[in-house]
Amino acid sequence: MDTAARTLVSPARLRRPGARRVYWAIVALVVLLFTVVFTGPLYWMVTGALKSGPEVAQIPPTLYPQHPQPGNYAEAWTALSLGRLLLNTVWYAFGALAFQLVFDVAAAYAFSKLRPAFGNALLGLMLATLMIPSTVLVIPQYVTVIDLPLVHWNMLDSPWAIWLPAVTNAFNIFLLKRFFDSIPQDLMSAAAIDGAGPVRTLWSVVLPISRPILGVVSIFSLTAIWKDFLWPLLVEPSADNRTVNVGIYAFSQGLTQNVVIAGAVIAAVPTVVFFLIFQKNIMSGLTAGSLKG
């Protein structure tokens, strides 16, 4: 971390004795405030789920569970069939990731390095979809998915209904293409002289250099599928096929508060663990997409 970088407040000013004290007071205040605001609700969730039925509805609320009931978590696990929901979501998310990596990487490589005829026109048409978010198109997309044109295939309740539409991620293609553009042509020519065809060049030259951007794209694709709501709500209507995000909402009707909250906690655990593991990549990924390259 570049602590020496000059920012809004000058370092000389910070070194004055009075300013030092003010600075530390601000640090303490910010840390305290942010911890309360952003992790307070998480604390409330985890402990609320441990309370008994009467205690969770009690006025005034208790700050910590008087008689912790870990059984609530077990009850939520079965009542919300969380094992099933989590497995479904993992299957959808990694399948969608695989399709995106194959098709979007291939497309970005073609746009960047192979540059076939009409390539730019197709790229333009893909990027134009960035202006029209998919939520706006759910109705015709749904109609298309229940009766695929020409082949009349009904994808409803199958993972394909999530996997294939996930490929239409123009932002991924944009990020990948921009990264591939930065790979020097010399490297490509060298591979060609060695007799490598386009597939081999992509596999042994381009992909190994592109690990950082592939990591970014993968993390954001997985998170997007995990957090998506409206589309899986529509195309995976059977209780057996729901994603965790849809399932905990759909199954929560009629359950008691402590059990619902316990379910919400369990549903959040995989993403929080994922975040703690890939924190560095996620942070650097946030800048990859937004800053001028």
């Binding site: 809004l8 000058s10 910010v30 942010f34 609700p41 998480l42 969730m45 609320g48 509805a57 006025i59 005034p60 609320p61 194959v102 291939a106 497309a107 490589y109 073609a110 192979l114 540059r115 076939p116 390539g119 197709l122 979809t129 202006m131 978010p133 939520t135 706006v136 198109l137 109705i139 015709p140 997309q141 109609v143 298309t144 695929l148 044109p149 294939l164 539409p165 490929v167 239409t168 709501f229 409206l230 529509l234 965790v244 995000n245 905990i248 909402y249 508060q257 619902v260 909250i261 919400a264 549903a267 959040a268 993403t271 975040f275 703690l276 942070m283 946030l286 800048t287 937004s290 001028k292």
Partner: protein, 313 residues
């Protein structure tokens, strides 16, 4: 590729073209076919799930399907929507949500990022903490907020307000507080990603600019206004576009926090109304008309943005 080459040889009038040109042409054709081979997967997916639905939504909005028979009905679906009592409420709510979310979710993270950028300690911790809610499944976070918004004092928000001797609120049970309640929850869930994007932009500002401004006698606020803001102008304007487009699609917040419509349609959003028409009233055509309206509004906004926004140079 074998088939492609043969097709090339058979399809070209080989005798009419001199040999070298024929070879070059064949090479170009093979090259193009290879390129399109790499593109085909993505292009088919875009065609089926993106480009075709765009056209189909417009077509559907001018049709009506009854008992399997589809007829053209002109602007009928749009007129019907106009007479839907929830229609104006849905647009009003969506615009209110977008505007409120801009006030809290757009300006606030910028100032938080400026503040965090000044701190020399606990940087990693603060970043992780603000981003944590972004990683939660939205339904998890919103179920929690649903209980926190309980209008009695069993809800943690009212309990805290009461403990601080402040007036309590009916939250999503009150027509005037519904949209602010949705915005608070949405902001808590999403503010972390904006903060981190701004932080990254702030770190790219060359320190000499601040030094030069300081030598010129610019105070803290002037440095903020004349150095920080212009230096992050591009990212600020891009985030503005992304935020408006994202918040206009609000759906899960009203659905989970207020059961969809809320009290007297105070929660109904445009996308929720679209969902209602399509899947509760069995009116896919009306829903498509609503989708077209939202598409026109968002595309119009993007075009206006592209014309007015600062150019990258």
């Amino acid at each position: 590729m074998d088939g492609a080459v043969r097709l090339d040889g058979a399809g070209l009038p080989a005798r009419a073209i001199p040999r070298p040109a024929g070879a070059a042409l064949r090479r170009r054709l093979v090259h193009n076919l290879t390129g399109h081979g790499f593109l085909i997967g993505a292009v088919v997916c875009f065609a089926v799930f993106s480009w075709y639905p765009m056209v189909r939504e417009i077509v559907m909005s001018f049709q009506r399907t009854r008992r399997g028979v589809t007829t053209w009905v002109g602007w009928h679906n749009y007129v019907r929507l106009w007479h839907d009592p929830s229609f104006l409420a849905a647009w009003r709510n969506t615009l209110t949500f977008t505007l409120l979310a801009l006030v809290v979710g757009y300006a606030l993270p910028f100032f938080i990022a400026v503040l965090l950028n000044e701190l020399r300690h606990a940087r990693g911790y603060l970043r992780a903490v603000v981003y944590l809610p972004v990683m939660l499944p939205p339904a998890s976070a919103l179920l929690l907020f649903r209980f926190a918004y309980d209008p009695s004092q069993a809800g943690i928000f009212n309990y805290l307000l009461h403990a601080a001797h402040l007036p309590t609120s009916q939250w999503v049970q009150s027509t005037s507080m519904t949209q602010p309640s949705l915005v608070i929850a949405a902001t808590w869930m999403n503010v972390g990603s904006s903060i981190l994007v701004y932080l990254a932009a702030l770190q790219n500002i060359p320190g000499e600019l601040y030094e030069a401004a300081e030598l010129d006698g610019a105070g803290l606020l002037r440095r903020l206004w004349h150095v920080t803001v212009p230096q992050t102008r591009l990212i600020l304007s891009l985030m503005f576009l992304l935020q408006v487009v994202a918040t206009m699609q609000v759906f899960i917040e009203p659905l989970i926090l207020a059961g969809g419509a809320g009290v007297n349609d105070s929660a109904t959003s445009v996308v929720y109304l679209m969902y209602q028409h399509a899947f509760k009233q069995n009116d896919l055509n009306g829903a498509a008309a609503l989708g077209v309206m939202l598409m026109v509004v968002l595309a119009g906004f993007s075009v206006a943005y592209a014309r007015l926004s600062p150019k990258q140079d």
